[in-house]
Amino acid sequence: MSTVAAERATKKAAKPATMAQALGRALRDSLAEDPAVHVLGEDVGALGGVFRVTDGLTKEFGEDRCTDTPLAEAGILGTAVGMAMYGLRPVVEMQFDAFAYPAFEQLISHVARMRNRTRGAMPMPITVRVPYGGGIGGVEHHSDSSEAYYMATPGLHVVTPATVADAYGLLRASIASDDPVVFLEPKRLYWSKADWNPDAPQAVEPIGKAVVRRTGRSATLLTYGPSVPVCMEAAEAAVAEGWDLEVVDLRSLVPFDDETVAASVRRTGRAVVVHESGGFGGPGGEIAARVTERCFHHLEAPVLRVAGFDIPYPPPMLERHHLPGVDRILDAVARLQWEADN
């Protein structure tokens, strides 16, 4: 089949799929291809996960490959460490962002540094799936953005998809990685849809590469995960103001793609980092510092941050005031112009 014909066939077969479906397909394909892959977590079996990402996996692969565990996050991740020590590739589900905290000691003291402790003799090919972030009306402890904690831990990769295709590709790459990956799943994008063909071979994106989602000349929006669609919307709205915004989807927070980010900011001369986790001590501070170090002489204005407020995640009826939206992003872009003019 010629490339054009293959492309046409792919397009023809493409149909709306949700991010949750793409993630489930990535798990399914990984389980089918590699007998070392095991999925474990609370409710991942008969229920298919509370977000249905693991739907049907136990039925297809059996309870030994997709296992309902006791309700204990440290135990889930701790046993995964032992499984990895014996040559398996566990994929664990943490159900909700704030539920992962009991597993922090296992993650930080063992998962992240086992390779280092053993001089490379004992890698930890574990994928930790963490649904994260707000915007779904979740009650307390169901909407945290915990990426800064993971980013601060050497030895972990931290990735987060923003599109249906990336959800599949990044998860496949994470499971294939010989290092531990914290795979942050933006909860409010689980039901986002895109035309995507589950039957065609999917390109597996390498971990560590950012992507320019929209090119522009006025300023760069640096963002990831749940804030990517918000930034895309802001960029469209900015056209009316006469601004042509570039949107960079970081995809991988660790390792960080300095190249793509610096190249974009050098082109535009202005940058705003957008994420919904708190700004103080948050990912934006690190990103802004990196950009400043690399692009200082190209910058027309300080690198600004549009982040969630520095508050415990608010109750659902107030979360719309907390989450960075289009207006807040455009206000920041306006301040970039002001900084440049004065």
């Binding site: 701790g78 032992g82 014996y86 280092n116 001089r119 004992m122 290092d179 300095d258």
Partner: protein, 390 residues
């Protein structure tokens, strides 16, 4: 004798029968720790095994005293001695087959050495030249674990994985009395019982978690009693009786290997030295208590048994001591050499493939090292003052 004091017997009020998955009675430990030495059971003990245990105990004691001496010479940053607990350490190592795995805590260096690990490699963590000085897969010994009880779920996961692969591998995980209060202890035991994983948990109850005595650690009748709540057998054993610890652990290992699931073994023993060389044990316990335990020393107990049965004479005792002394001399000699360290190792084992960020930092360190070498070649002999002082 605080830790040996008789505690109340656990008498559960039975729920309706349909709620009971098993009769808890067979899971409960005996009220008294199981003993072999000095009892009728000793007559049935394997003589060759007793001889091996004796040689290993003598070796183990010498290893402990040598390692403690190395801390005084500044060759070890710290050493948590297992003097007084050698019976547990040695028995844990000897009950395992080569294919089995040992999950030691930071105090269990001796168990790793008794399993065959090079004593110098076993001390890497405590010397401070790296975190784990050996390939865990080569010896089937997990890295010495400093956080408390976090190695227990690893043992469960590994044993579970082995069973999924069809291997009859058993994992033996060691933890102290303080570690049983940690959440990971609970989660590991619960997972192991639910999965019927081939794991043996060995709690060395040595009386103190640094300074906190057992009665401030738990209100349970014994630590072995905790097993029944998970649905696994709990066994209480005299941790200074090498033959008894070996027998109880052997039974547990066999049951695990045959698909019978996990066991929790509490070995009641005593830490004769302080928690580490940095601790002052006189602040929390009296001499009388320590002396009482000295009379119950694991080597003394086994020596008495072997001598009474005519299995040990002066020649054999000397042979054991000579063997231990040779091990100590070799350890001392090699530990007194400065380890060969490469600062660039700092970046080598963080990820399978270095990130751009780490490559940049590695380049920075390399430049610093090169600049410092140039300084030395310009003016000095290339060694620093500290090295010359040694």
């Amino acid at each position: 004798m605080t830790v040996m004091e008789q505690r109340g017997v656990y008498r559960p009020t039975p729920p309706p029968a349909w709620q009971l998955r098993t009769d808890p009675a067979p899971l409960l430990p005996d009220a008294e720790p199981y003993r072999v030495l000095g009892t009728e059971a000793a007559g049935k003990a394997d003589e060759e095994l007793l001889g091996r245990l004796y040689a290993q105990l003598v070796r183990g004691r010498r290893y402990n005293t040598q390692a403690t001496a190395l801390t005084k010479q500044g060759r070890l940053a710290v050493y948590p001695s297992s003097t007084g607990q050698e019976a547990c350490e040695v028995a844990a190592a000897l009950v395992l087959e080569e294919r089995d795995w040992l999950f030691p805590s930071y105090r269990d260096t001796l168990a790793a050495v008794a399993r065959g690990l090079d004593p110098v490699q076993a001390l890497t963590l405590l010397r401070g030249d790296w975190h784990t000085g050996y390939d865990p897969r080569e010896y089937r010994i997990a890295p010495l674990c400093t956080p408390l009880a976090t190695q227990l779920p690893h043992a469960v996961g590994l044993a579970h994985a082995a069973r999924l692969k069809g291997d009859d591998v058993v994992a033996l995980a060691m933890v102290g009395d303080g570690g049983t209060s940690e959440g990971d202890f609970h989660e590991a035991l619960n997972f192991a019982a639910v999965w019927q994983a081939p794991v043996v948990f060995l709690v060395q109850n040595n009386g103190f978690a640094i300074s906190v005595p057992l009665d401030k650690q738990t209100a349970a009748p014994s630590l072995a009693h905790k097993a029944v709540g998970y649905g696994m057998p709990g066994r209480l054993v005299d941790g200074n009786d090498a033959a008894a610890v070996h027998e109880v652990l052997s039974e547990a290992v066999s049951r695990a290997r045959e698909g019978g699931g996990p066991t929790l073994v509490e070995a009641v023993t005593y830490r004769m030295e302080a928690h580490t060389n940095a601790d002052d044990a006189t602040r929390y316990r009296g001499d009388a208590e320590v002396e009482a335990w000295r009379a119950h020393d694991p080597i003394v107990l086994l020596e008495r048994e072997l001598t009474e049965r005519g299995l040990l004479d002066e020649d054999r005792m000397r042979a054991a001591r000579d063997d231990a002394e040779a091990m100590a001399a070799d350890l001392r000699g090699r530990m007194n050499q400065d380890p060969d360290l490469d600062p660039m190792d700092l970046f080598r084992h963080v990820y399978a493939e270095q990130t751009t960020q780490l490559r940049e930092q590695a380049a920075q360190l390399r430049a610093e090292l090169e600049a410092s070498n140039e300084e030395h070649t310009d003016g000095t002999d290339g060694t620093d003052g500290e090295e010359n002082a040694r």
